[in-house]
Amino acid sequence: MESNMNNAASQPATGMANVRFGVYNQPSNIGGKSVKDAREQFSKLWGIPNDAVAYKGKDKLDENYVIQPGDNVEFHRRAGEKG
């Protein structure tokens, strides 16, 4: 199952949500912000590459998706390739 979630038109609700990228995992007050905003906020801290895809569960998130309180947003980096 794969879908691009975009709820930009819905009412933004502020509050805590969880952001994950690789070894990083942090609750943050990003409810009501877009994925794009969250990416900008955490990319400098964690080195999230521009091509990292945002997911909620198995659903790909559009950059305009408004993060809801309680959401678990994961920026997926490419898995380790070499062996």
Partner: protein, 252 residues
């Protein structure tokens, strides 16, 4: 009656040589009479010594099996000196090098370790595994320097216990690289190995062995389905990719 296993190790390189050392010991003492099948079409070269554990130059599967066999007499160690390719041989440009299809290699109940150096081969292995009713596939890899990750795909009685990695990793759907088994010798020789580190290769092997210990030896749930680690930061992070958990999460 002793429980026996069939471990299929695909890739006997930077991760695979260290993983083989752990897997054969696990089989020898926990599951005597089991089989360790080592699959690799590539050869050890002197330059591999920096990160890979071997004593002779030659085909990786054959050399590794010959090294382990005299040491572990309760385990049948079978080398398959071939490249793993898709069932339809798609993408294969070299007809000469020895090949085996993933479906010929993997059978019901196998525990597969896909520690190759490209996503194209991983995709082929996962595609074949996902058609079986009961299977475990552990994969892992590292990027340059000190970052790495592992993933455990499990099916029982035809039902996926953990999600197929393609649901979280587009690189498994559209691999950005080539399967060496599809390439000519010349093309294979031109593939860059990157700047991998021994510590990261060994860490991937250790994380996989840890998951095997929990989910196979102790038959516990594969809650820590995917694990990222960064040896530079001294951190690791588990992700729960069990099907039930992911579906429950989505409906909340």
């Amino acid at each position: 009656m002793t429980d026996t296993k069939r471990f299929v190790l695909v890739g006997a390189g930077g991760i695979g040589t260290w993983l083989a050392a752990g897997l054969v010991r696990l089989l020898e003492w926990k599951y005597p009479g089991s089989a360790l099948i080592i699959v690799d079409g590539d050869n050890y070269e002197p330059k591999n010594k920096e990160r890979q554990d071997f004593t002779k130059i030659g085909n990786k599967a054959v050399v590794k099996a010959h090294e382990l066999t005299p040491q572990f007499t309760n385990t049948m160690i079978i080398p398959i000196p071939k490249w793993v390719v898709a069932d339809d041989f798609s993408g294969v440009t070299d007809e000469d090098s020895p090949k085996i299809t993933a479906s010929q290699l993997i059978t019901e109940g196998d525990i597969v370790f896909a520690v190759v150096d490209n996503f194209a081969a991983r995709k082929i292995i996962f595609d074949a595994a996902s058609k079986l009713q009961n299977i475990d596939v552990f994969t892992g890899g590292n990027d340059d320097e000190l970052f790495g990750s592992i993933y455990h795909y499990q099916k029982r009685d035809g039902i996926e216990v953990t999600e197929h990695p393609v649901n979280f990793h587009p690189e498994y759907d559209n691999p950005p690289d080539k399967n060496p088994g599809e390439l000519s010798c010349q093309e294979r020789s031109e593939i860059e190995g990157g700047t991998q580190l021994l510590a990261t290769n060994m860490a991937v092997a250790s994380f996989i062995l840890g998951r095997v210990h929990k989910t196979i030896v102790h038959n516990q749930n594969p809650e820590e389905t995917e694990i990222y680690f960064d040896l530079g930061l001294g951190k690791s992070e588990p992700y729960d990719r069990r099907v039930t958990t992911v579906n429950e999460y989505i409906t909340v």
